[in-house]
Symmetry: D2
Subunit: 148 residues, 4 copies
């Protein structure tokens, strides 16, 4: 990740030139492929996900959601459950692993099919926590409350 972090605009220009070049030179196509395999997943992300067990014959999904919360708790990652999903913060690989384990624990419970809707956000300009995002908007809206 530090590699990726240590080469911002300049190298992204370089990699674009490579991509253009390889259109004319198969050899550089290999280079661009090697480049992709070296691509590291983001060092931090947030994922908001809503997992739905399919084919359970039970309209309630609360037991499966509770199982998922236990997996999240055991992961040691920062997470928050809300009424329409759960938000998890961590490195891309950590967060995606725990969501995959959430599918696994629900399958272990006997559910044959699991469908999840996810929102994933990454940014390179700064670290921003879930709280930061809400506070930022509430700060703007707080002006609406100010006396005339």
């Amino acid at each position: 990740m530090s590699l990726f972090r240590s080469r911002p605009t300049l190298v992204s220009h370089t990699s674009r030139q490579l991509l253009i070049t390889y259109r004319h030179h198969p050899s550089s196509q290999k280079m661009s492929f090697r480049d992709y395999s070296n691509l590291e997943t983001p060092a931090s992300c947030y994922v908001d996900f809503c997992l739905v067990p399919v084919g359970t014959g039970n309209v309630s999904v609360a037991n499966e959601v509770a199982d998922v919360q236990r997996v999240l708790k055991a992961s040691g990652l920062k997470y928050t459950m809300h009424s329409a999903g759960t938000t998890v913060e961590g490195s891309w690989d950590e967060v995606m692993k725990v969501v995959g384990q959430a599918h696994a624990i629900v399958h272990q419970g006997g559910v044959k099919r699991v469908q999840t809707s996810m929102r994933v956000g990454t940014r390179t300009d700064k670290k921003q926590t879930a709280e930061d995002k809400v506070k930022r908007v509430e700060g703007i809206l707080s002006g609406d409350q100010s006396p005339a």
Copy 2:
């Protein structure tokens, strides 16, 4: 699976006690952690994702989507682009890695923030490809078209 099924409420209570206990006894912490850390992510899944670069000052996202398609091609995974996203099939870890690399390549292109919407499906009853799913529905609908 059957094991898990054969120990319903009672043992789930027990495991809850472990979760409590571990706050005081590292030994049982290991137990509960081992339980979840042994959970493997699904061996196969499909992911349909739509990646949006944020803050680019460019209304078009076609260049970023093209970069993502190049990363997908290099991955060797089976994928299909449609007008509202791209569907990828493979193991959970493979697919999540390539989507993370898709974020990385877009960041390398100079985009500071990337937001992706994903649908993820896993099932344990059978393998079903993207084509299978469409054919299944078209098969049902084909009856609607049949001559009187």
Copy 3:
């Protein structure tokens, strides 16, 4: 809606028979089409949505999110903002109208492209508020906290 409510399983069976019939009788195809236009949208739903302005040249989306919160407030509908979106409750038509107005207000602010990710849930077995859903899961998890 009361109509739809007042004809549960029986008429859904009837409509299935119509669908089958029309495969053989074009006349009943018309019926099934009329049937669809009579279909009312759900009387209640929840929508959790995350709106992203595209092409603004600004990495922060807080101002747009604040505009959206003002539209939601003016709607009189019940809503809650969290770090990864906002959950709104109401009739299908009311909720979808306000989300459309959220797109409109952001466009009015000069954003040429808006992309939103939504989760929508409807159920006919009972009314369940956002709070109910969280409490239900927390109730299950509270057992995890109980003394051994």
Copy 4:
């Protein structure tokens, strides 16, 4: 739009004061409500949605998806089914109505709970069809395929 742009911070403060004031003065409530209630939903949008019936006891969702396709066909809107959802194009109100009817038809079939994941896109700079979007990206990628 230009109007809105020509009244930046100052008037947005004023409208904030109106929002406060209206809590005490129904008259100004009308004003602020008129402001938002006059907001029209977008004249065109695309929606890509994936509907999941919950609690059916049937792992397959093909019958419900087929019902949804019939509702879409009857709507007269332009739509395309793919393996991970269906993309529909039309005005905001038309598209949201048909997705609501999709929930309704699945409920009529006896499904008590329906969960849908949606991506919604609107833009004011130009009309772009689903085909346009795919062609645009394929055009960029076609350069990658060109012989050396």
